[in-house]
């Protein structure tokens, strides 16, 4: 019994270490001074320092990590919330009224299959006409399009999972469409909203391509901004700083995932109908 437990932990820890090695290596590198990085490739830090983090978190004339973080936060929020707002009514109409189920739905979902780069040039031209280049809103809108297929798919499933009797019961209880949606359908879709928000936010936060193409200064997101730290002083890549910026950039989605994890799973409809 005891051996069994020890073995289980051994396997678990090994797997955790192997799978997370890149993250661990990055974190350890971030704790090393430049001289030590050149000299000591091991995982054991001789003189741990927070120097790299201080550099990253200090605002210089050229680099401002808070600016990138804020840009990412805002554009990723738009990019994850907007698709929910747009897709929810569509999902309901598709499931309950059958609108667009046969053509529009597969088309939107298959949008995900297209390599995003093919949108880059037309989008750039369109954005320059409507003055959305290098704006958080512009980047957020593009991220919203990126997230729309998955969001719609998850919300369609969520609405379809609500037993139709619940909506019929609400209609019998006198509820017109707005009340039916707001008081019955919306609350029951809450877990799906949280799931799509978390996935969408993480996708949007990690997006690099459109951030690179559509922004130059004002709306540069964290992913693109991080790359600026790789060559701060002309003398080649400062690996310690680069590692520190990666850690900082990865924190927000990581925290979001950790906080929301428990809410992602779990269904709301238990007890509604005889199971």
């Amino acid at each position: 019994m005891k051996l069994h437990l020890i073995l289980r932990w051994l396997v678990f820890v090994t797997a955790a270490l192997v799978l997370n090695f890149p993250v661990i290596a990055t974190f350890i590198t971030a704790l090393k001074a430049p001289a030590e990085i050149a000299r000591n490739p091991s995982l054991v830090v001789q003189n741990p320092t927070i120097e790299n983090f201080v550099t990253v978190l200090t605002v210089s004339d050229r680099l401002n990590i808070y600016h990138y973080l804020l840009n990412s936060l805002l554009s990723a929020s738009i990019g994850s919330l907007l698709p929910i707002v747009v897709a929810f009514p569509i999902a309901w109409a598709m499931v309950r009224r059958g609108y667009g189920r046969n053509i529009l739905f597969p088309l939107i979902v298959n949008l995900r299959a297209l390599p995003l780069i093919i949108f880059a040039v037309p989008l750039y031209l369109m954005f320059s006409v409507v003055n959305l280049l290098d704006t958080r809103l512009g980047l957020g809108l593009v991220l919203a399009v990126v997230n729309l297929p998955l969001t719609l798919m998850l919300l369609v499933n969520a609405v379809a999972e609500i037993p139709i009797e619940l909506e019929e019961a609400a209609r019998m209880d006198g509820a017109r469409l707005p009340r039916l949606i707001l008081r019955i359908v919306l609350p029951l879709c809450r877990p799906a909203f949280i799931t799509t928000f978390v996935f969408g936010f993480i996708t949007a936060w990690n997006e690099f391509l459109f951030g690179l193409i559509l922004t130059t200064q004002k709306a540069v997101p964290m992913t693109v901004g991080a790359s600026f730290f790789f060559a701060t002083s002309g003398g080649g890549v400062q690996w310690g700083v680069a590692a520190a910026v990666m850690i900082v950039a990865a924190l927000p989605p990581l925290l979001l995932g950790l906080i929301m994890y428990r809410k992602i799973t779990g269904s709301m409809v238990s007890g509604a109908v005889k199971g």
Partner: protein
């Protein structure tokens, strides 16, 4: 409370006619049960009254107002679903209050009515629970509570008991019956269970393949079934049906040239004879009208359910008091009073033989 009339209601799904010109009036305060085998259209008919299904043609009137085109929320009817359909994210209290809040009733009124319904349905201790924390019977009571607080024009029940176990079903059935008495409300109740239909109904509507087979009180339907379908649908075991032909003066002829005397009555149109299992008694083979051997004998406690193989006539089921000593394989005779016989013509409709001139 209200009177509900259906006028030539038809319903087709993609060209398939599921309801064929149904006309019916459910009187104010009446307990009307739609009964029939699955797929007969009884639930569809109820859902059309509720407004959850469109009507292909015909009219639905509630208190002489044409509601055919009205949405469910404008018809002021309450419905109890087979699956309960409770709002899982709301507490029992909120579930019951939902319709009242929708109708923007004052807070005190809502509280009072919810408390009243909870007391009637013995749900007081569960008001703050979510439906998932309730048993099946309690959920069903919440569903009923949700329906009664609104004081609707009529109640619609869609097989409300079929998800409950047998004991609970019996109990809830009695509760629904007493609810009907105390509310004096118009109720339309769909079931496939003939016991529910017989015990609850003021009037039963028997449906088959989208058509009304017969409408009447339980006793009327049982004692004077209008056709073969109703005769066999109500009653358990089912009514025995025997092919018959007119034997002229000599009564009617059963298969195997067995003559059956029906008194001084014309046997002209008769093509089927029916008799209820419980009206047949087992006698000595002797000179009984129908003779056979006992093929199967089931002990049900208070009664024996017996199948008698009557040769060319076929199998006849009989309910006999369990006191008798009957064994499988025994040769017996079947005896029945002449007035226990039901007669049907070629198309399955009831015929009443007229006295011979």
């Amino acid at each position: 409370m209200a009177r509900i009339s259906l006028r030539n209601i038809c319903k087709s799904f993609k060209g398939l006619e599921v309801i064929k010109s149904v006309s019916l009036t459910v009187e104010d305060g009446e307990f009307c049960v739609f009964v029939g085998p699955s797929g007969c259209g009884k639930s569809t008919l109820l859902r059309m009254i509720a407004g959850l299904e469109d009507v292909t043609s015909g009219q639905i009137l509630i208190d002489d107002e044409n509601v055919t085109k009205l949405e469910p929320f404008d018809r002021q009817l309450s419905m109890v679903f087979q699956s309960y359909a409770l709002y899982p994210h709301l507490t029992v209290r909120q579930n019951i209050a939902f319709a009242l809040e929708t109708a923007k009733q004052p807070k005190q009124v809502i509280e009072r009515k919810v408390a009243e319904a909870a007391r009637t349905l013995k749900l007081e201790d569960y008001l703050d629970r979510k439906p998932s924390a309730l048993s099946g019977g309690q959920r069903q009571r919440v569903a009923i509570g949700r329906a009664i607080v609104r004081e609707p024009k009529a109640f619609l029940f869609d097989e409300p008991l079929s998800n409950l176990d047998a004991a609970l079903r019996g109990e809830t059935r009695i509760e629904i019956a007493s609810l009907h008495k105390s509310l004096a409300a118009t109720m339309i109740y769909v079931t496939h269970d003939q016991v529910e239909a017989m015990t609850l109904a003021d009037r039963i509507v028997v449906l088959n393949k989208g058509e009304i087979m017969q409408v009447g009180s339980p006793r009327e339907l049982y004692e004077h079934p209008g056709n073969v379908f109703v005769a066999q649908f109500l009653g358990s075991p089912r009514m025995n049906l025997i092919d018959a032909a007119s034997g002229g003066e000599a009564g009617i002829m059963l298969p195997g040239n067995q003559r059956l005397d029906i008194g001084q009555r014309s046997s002209e149109k008769i093509s089927t004879v029916g008799m209820r299992p419980e009206q047949i008694s087992i006698t000595e083979a002797g000179d009984a009208a129908i003779k056979g051997t006992i093929k199967l004998c089931e002990y049900h406690g208070s009664v024996l359910s017996i199948i008698v193989d009557a040769g060319p006539i076929g199998d006849i089921s009989v309910l006999a008091p369990s006191a008798g000593a009957l064994v499988e394989g025994a040769r017996v005779g079947l005896d029945f009073p002449a007035d226990a016989l039901h007669f049907f013509d070629v198309s399955g409709n009831r015929v009443t033989p007229s006295p011979q001139a």
